[in-house]
């Protein structure tokens, strides 16, 4: 899922200080699962904003709404009926949602209430970690199912570097060395001997963010 975390309240309050009528828009997709932008978080954030405004003696009217998904025009359209009554939309979906709202409703600004952090998963309750950097050119079949681009802090294809120590990365003793994980896994699979000495060539990064906004086209699905 796309993992996000709420922006600091101070930053949000500064962002919305010019507005007295506001939509706080959540999303029932990824950000709801990672407890950053779902229905619950909409309620909490709206309450926090109202509380802060009461302290300034300046009321704010907040419309609380949570869409099925903010990355789909069909659902984004659901704000149409009342969007005209408000001055801004504070979206707590991922960056995609904020941009979809901005593209869709041209009259008022769409503001980000969360920082979109990474594509990852839940390790346990309350802990999410990164697994994929969306490089657009997957090599997991060569590295035992562990991503060198994401898990190695230098994205080495021929690691580990000389900073790997006791299974940990040189950037932080809490961070596992991605290449130690890969080596352990290759051994588990009995692929170590075969794979490790192979030199992986420089990666084609043109499929990554380096190539500008990316596109996936499926003509068979088009109408």
């Amino acid at each position: 899922m796309v993992v996000a975390e709420q922006k600091p309240f101070e930053e949000i309050l500064e962002m919305i200080k010019a507005y007295d009528r506001l939509i706080v828009a959540g999303c029932k997709g990824c950000v709801a699962v990672c407890a950053a932008g779902g229905e619950k978080e909409v309620r909490f954030l709206a309450s926090a904003i109202r509380t802060a405004r009461k302290m300034e003696g300046r009321e704010v009217e907040i419309k609380e709404v949570t869409l099925e998904r903010q990355c789909d025009p069909e659902y984004v359209e659901q704000l149409r009926a009342f969007v005209g009554e408000y001055q801004a939309i504070l979206s707590i979906a991922c960056g995609v949602g904020v941009q979809y709202l901005a593209e869709h409703y041209r009259e008022i600004p769409a503001l980000p209430g969360v920082n979109t952090t990474f594509v990852g998963g839940a390790e346990k309750q309350g802990l999410w970690t990164e697994r994929c950097q969306c490089c657009g050119n997957c090599v997991l079949h060569l590295t035992g199912g562990i991503c060198p681009i994401t898990r190695c802090s230098k994205s080495l294809l021929n690691g580990p570097c000389g900073g790997s120590s006791g299974g940990k990365c040189e950037i932080d003793p809490e961070v596992p060395c991605g290449w130690q994980l890969i080596i352990d896994r290759l051994k588990e699979l009995g692929e170590f001997e075969r794979r490790y000495l192979e030199i992986l060539p420089p990666k084609d990064w043109s499929t990554s963010r380096d190539g500008g906004p990316r596109k996936v086209v499926r003509e068979d699905l088009m109408k």
């Binding site: 080495l156 120590s165 060395c177």
Partner: protein, 307 residues
């Protein structure tokens, strides 16, 4: 000869080579490099110039190399892949060769997290193994990474680093083998304090026959104090400083510790000379360049051969 390098000639002639390094200054003062260079005159066959080591901004390696070359030194251009993509890397390689720099040490580079600009965006377009292969293809095949031909190939002697003390230990020699396969001509190792572990590593190197394909220069860094030894042991990832060494430094009064540190370095070099497959030493006296002469002299490595 593969290159125009003096270091290559020294090693190929079978001399036990001596290299050292200069860390460029955090400023635009050319004298800082010249002063360090002066301390190494007549002591080394070639001198490394670090490339923003520990991810701290310093004068560029290439321009510092040129300053040393003007003084008559044989510089080794260190290049990390942290800060340059393949376009900048290949461009700098051509530029270095055009300026008469004959050696390159291919490194990945320390992560910027621990450096002086942790907010920087890193590059890591290539890794060190891929960089070695890129330089080799440019030199031997006259081709860029995209396969296209270049006009005049850069005649560089290609170096790489090896850390016998990083983890996992069992892949350390295999990783060296990858660097050799990619095209490394010489290797400079991480500082060696644990000679036992280094011998074990060298034995694996010799068993695989790698010492016949690549020149291995063993790294030595003199310890200035117990404090430095402890710092190296505890704070620098992939560094192995045995407790006996710390105890030995602790056993002498504080003002005598630098002297003891130099003594240890000399003994280390003498032992390294006896290890099969070791072709030279790389003496890295960090901000203590004046001691390189004493160590080389003490270990019987002066004077340096004319080649």
């Amino acid at each position: 000869m593969k290159s125009s390098s003096r270091l290559e000639r020294v090693l190929t002639a079978g001399h036990f080579a001596v290299t050292s390094e200069c860390g460029p200054p955090r400023g635009a003062d050319p004298e800082a490099i010249r002063r360090k260079g002066e301390l190494l005159r007549g002591v080394v066959d070639a001198v490394n110039v670090t490339d923003c080591q520990t991810a701290v901004v310093r004068m560029s390696s290439l321009s510092s190399c040129l300053l040393l070359k003007e003084m008559g030194f044989e510089p080794i251009l260190q290049m990390v892949t942290r800060d340059r993509n393949r376009i900048a890397i290949q461009s700098d390689i051509l530029g270095a060769a055009a300026l008469g720099i004959n050696n390159i040490l291919c490194l990945t580079g320390d992560h910027q997290r621990a450096g002086d600009h942790p907010q920087a965006k890193n590059v890591f377009d290539l890794d060190s193994v891929q960089l070695i292969a890129a330089v080799k293809a440019m030199r031997d095949e006259g081709r860029f990474l995209n396969g296209e031909e270049l006009t005049v190939p850069p005649k560089l002697f290609i170096g790489a680093a090896a850390n016998p003390f990083a983890d996992p230990f069992e892949i350390r020699v295999l990783r060296l083998a990858k660097k050799v396969a990619a095209g490394a001509d010489f290797i400079q190792t991480q500082c060696i304090y644990n000679l036992e572990r280094f011998r074990e590593w060298m034995k694996q190197v010799v068993d695989m026959g790698l010492h016949e394909k690549v020149f291995i220069l063993a790294g030595v860094t003199p310890l200035k104090s117990v404090g430095m030894a402890r710092y190296m042991k505890n704070m620098v990832p992939g560094m192995d400083v045995p407790d006996e060494l710390i105890a030995r430094l602790k056993g002498v009064p504080k003002e005598k510790q630098p002297e003891e540190g130099v003594k240890i370095a000399i003994e280390t070099v003498q032992q390294l000379k006896e290890i099969e497959g070791v072709s030279g030493v790389h003496i890295m006296a960090i901000e203590w360049e004046e001691k390189v002469r004493e160590i080389a002299e003490g270990a019987g490595l002066l004077s340096r051969p004319e080649v």
